[in-house]
């Protein structure tokens, strides 16, 4: 019974951690740089992906930063992040 519980716990932990990668942490000092430059860099990687796998990876990275900006920084910097990324992404259309 004890083993079963341990196995279940390990399985749950591995499912929870799967495909997530390390979380992004953004300090207030870096926020502006991420909002202006990193967003363009990440969105460009999404726009210029050469295969679907590359696109999926680039999208995941961009979304990870978007979440970090939304939850850790917010406000005007987050708005700039979205604006910069949207500008790059809309140029493909």
């Amino acid at each position: 019974m004890k083993r079963l519980f341990i196995l279940c716990a390990v399985a749950l932990a591995s499912v929870a951690c799967a495909d997530r990668g390390p979380a992004v942490e953004i300090s207030a000092d870096d926020a502006l740089g991420v909002a202006y430059d990193k967003s363009v860099e990440l969105a460009t990687a999404v726009a210029e992906a050469k295969s679907y796998e590359e696109f999926v990876a680039a999208r995941a990275e961009l979304e990870k930063y978007e979440e970090a900006m939304r939850t850790q920084i917010g406000g005007e910097d987050y708005e700039i992040f979205l604006q910069s990324a949207n500008e790059v992404l809309s140029n493909i259309k």
Partner: protein
């Protein structure tokens, strides 16, 4: 008889307690109109949401009523005059916050929409120049047809509106007019869906190595056949 008297007394006491409690809840301690107004002004300056604004406005109203009851109309008016500007400014600030939130939500949905559109384009089946041109033309025809329906519906709405005015705005006719207008909105959203399909098609075609003319949405005169390697990669995700 005794029981009845006790029951009546009990109910009366209960009502009295409830009334007293409700009075205590809405009661505010009055000092002077200037001091109380300062308290409201300080609270109004820190407003960050509509809920906060509403609760401050409610509190200010309680003070107004209390001044009117306890003293006179002049004290109440004095309190209102002192707090008016601060409350108006707080309301304006709330409107600004509201507008900013709307703008942020629009940006968020644009961001998610662009990524989803790209994902759909990457997952699109392999497109030849002919297939692409055919699909785009088909969508353009669909849009033309929907636009024709919109024009027809608008003409019908205009005619019906005239009848509605003549009839003196009866409720059933107003409802019918609302339905007709909803129909136009549905057609408009259908156009948006078709346009979005065309955008996905164009991005998919570009991703597969096709060249798209910018002026019209048709492909260039001699478009490159999409590379076979890329076709296989785009087909993978759909499987």
């Amino acid at each position: 008889m005794k029981r009845k008297i006790f029951a009546i007394l009990g109910y009366t006491a209960l009502v009295a307690v409830v009334l007293l409690m409700s009075q205590c809840e809405s009661r505010v301690t009055l000092t002077t109109p200037k001091k109380d107004a300062q308290r409201i002004i300080a609270l109004a300056k820190g407003v960050e949401s509509e809920e906060e604004l509403k609760s401050i406005e409610k509190l200010a109203r309680k003070y107004e009523i209390a001044y009117e009851r306890m003293y006179n109309g002049a004290a109440s008016l004095e309190f209102k005059r002192l707090t008016n500007d601060a409350l108006r400014e707080a309301s304006q600030l709330c409107d600004e916050i509201h507008a900013k939130n709307d703008q942020l939500n629009a940006l968020k949905s644009e961001f998610a929409g662009a990524l989803d559109m790209l994902d759909a384009a990457w997952s699109y089946e392999a497109l030849t120049a002919e297939k692409y041109a055919e699909a785009i033309k088909k969508n353009e025809l669909r849009i033309k047809k929907i636009n024709a329906k919109i024009k027809q519906a608008e003409a019908e709405i205009q005619a019906y509106s005239d009848k509605l005015i003549e009839a003196g705005y009866p409720a059933d006719m107003l409802e019918e007019l609302g339905k007709m207008k909803d129909g136009v909105t549905k057609y408009e959203s259908m156009i948006k869906v078709v346009e979005s399909e065309s955008r996905i098609l164009t991005i998919a075609y570009k991703l597969q190595g096709g060249e798209v003319a910018l002026e019209n949405t048709e492909p260039a005169a001699e478009p490159e056949e999409p590379a076979t390697e890329q076709q296989s990669t785009t087909e993978e995700p759909t499987e």
